[in-house]
Symmetry: C2
Subunit: 308 residues, 2 copies
């Protein structure tokens, strides 16, 4: 058995990456309560909001209010998505601890989504990165479609490495390797992380996996074997898959925590409180809880309550 | 990266282990069509029926009719569950290729479920095993609760090894290590298989995982790293978890095949046909398809059809 890390950082992305896909507007107070519950559960890092044009993503229009409303836990990092300088100014005004910039490892995806090449898309972030550095704000770069693309299919490992190097050149503190459509499997995870750890420090790389084909936990396990120590997850599995209606999106945080607990890997996060937060948000927005561990633990709790 | 097997045997257990948990009786013709579809998809081994008292498991009352009705693919093994000699006689009359006998690795589970010790429960199978040997029928032993028990919680690795040795003494050709309630995680999987491969040939041990806490694929991956080459799975994730209402049970075959395909491990099974079989049975019995890969592939197919 490979030696695994003894502790990992779990970044909770549900409030931003998850809720962003909800059609109906989620009230600001609900977003704030969700984040507060997650802060109390012990997450060291929460992706809390997006400072993007409300025309693009109306669900995230209340980013400033959310950032003002939450009770921040000392030491925790609250990250926000910033597509441009204007977004960065909003993030700075909201005292975000970290900004997130993004680029695809797939040329077809970049062209189709933002109508420019991968290289151009990342160059555009240069002024944002510069401003963040000047302001002492952490920068995270997110590499989407790192394991496959809905338009071009296969994504070469070399393309992932190239985007990682571009983000590194911009001064990113942390870089996410994201399986946006959930098509990756464990062998590819080994290959991709083996390659990217050669060009960027292992301890600042994170795995962002989707469970669309049920592979997320196996992929996380493979990434742990590569020494990866940061993972993204979404409470209750918030966030669907825009490329396959009805399919699963982000891996559920509860399932990831159950894995880490079983492996004896420290997270500093209280699973019970996360299960409760998942139940809260699922009910608040009227969406099925898609965390398997979450559902099983809630069922156990209910049957214990019924027999008490 | 550990060296993984180049080919595995996937045993489809949906028609028996999966359907057994359905409250409403599934018509014999539906069971037969399901098995026939799975045979055509290429499964080398299908758990097809149970020769158990209809008082205990009314859903499986039509075992003989199912075995008569199916079109067997040459070379494939059709297994049936046999709790006693009477069940074995039915299995023999139905020309089953393999009988399945079972025992728990948890003393509490054995006492609570069949009111006797583990040792007694396995001793009772001696006449069945003897009769099977005499008739030249394969015998599979299934060790339930190998990773945890709903009553006693922890199950020592030594208990699993003990049951494996008892099944080996009865002459079992193959032995399943089953995570009946889905609580196992990858580290424990390594520990259990490392221990049982010391007392029984690796190539005749199988992993039977449940996805109740979302861990099944990570556990299968860990078992592959231990060199395990036989895995059980249930099409569309048929079969819930009797110990947690609403929770997931058997790992979905489609998700397992997606993993194996991604790892380049041969199964001889056509994933597309399995996805269709999963769609067929889910609709036939009015149950949600809980295979993530199955749902994603069906969604892709529908969107392709819509845009064609």
């Amino acid at each position: 058995m490979a030696t695994l890390p003894t502790a990992v950082k779990i970044v909770e992305v549900g409030p931003r990456d998850g809720l962003q896909n909800e059609k109906e507007f989620v009230p600001t107070a609900v977003k704030v309560e969700l984040i507060d519950r997650l802060s109390k559960a012990g997450f060291p890092n929460i992706e809390a909001a997006s400072f993007v044009s409300p025309k693009w993503v109306p669900q995230m229009a209340d980013g400033a209010e959310v950032m003002t409303g939450i009770a921040r836990r000392e030491g925790a990092i609250y990250s926000v998505l910033t597509p441009n300088l204007r977004g960065f100014e909003g993030a700075l005004a909201a005292s975000a601890d970290e900004i997130v910039i993004f680029g695809a490892a797939s040329e077809a995806f970049s062209q189709k989504n933002i109508n420019c090449s991968i290289a151009e898309s990342i160059d555009r972030f240069a002024p944002v990165a510069e401003a963040a550095k000047a302001a002492g704000v952490r920068i995270r770069g997110s590499v989407s479609c790192a394991f496959g693309c809905p338009y071009q299919g296969e994504v070469p490992v070399a393309s992932v490495v190239d985007v990682v190097q571009r983000f590194a050149a911009l001064g990113c503190d942390e870089i996410d390797i994201a399986d946006t459509i959930g098509v990756g499997t464990a062998k590819r995870v080994h290959e991709v992380f083996e390659a990217v750890t050669k060009v960027f420090p292992r301890e600042r790389l994170s795995g962002h996996f989707h469970d669309t084909y049920g592979q997320a936990l196996a992929n996380i396990y493979a990434a742990l074997e590569e020494g990866i120590e940061i993972f993204h997850a979404s409470v209750a599995g918030l966030g669907g898959c825009p490329y396959a209606k009805g399919a699963t999106g982000n891996v559920a945080t509860e399932d990831v925590l159950y894995l880490m607990n079983g492996l004896g890997i420290r997270t500093g996060i209280d699973l019970d409180q996360v299960v409760e937060a998942g139940d809260f948000i699922s009910k608040a927005i009227g969406r099925a809880n898609v965390s398997r561990a979450g559902k099983a633990l809630l069922a156990k709790k209910q049957s214990a309550a019924a027999s008490a």
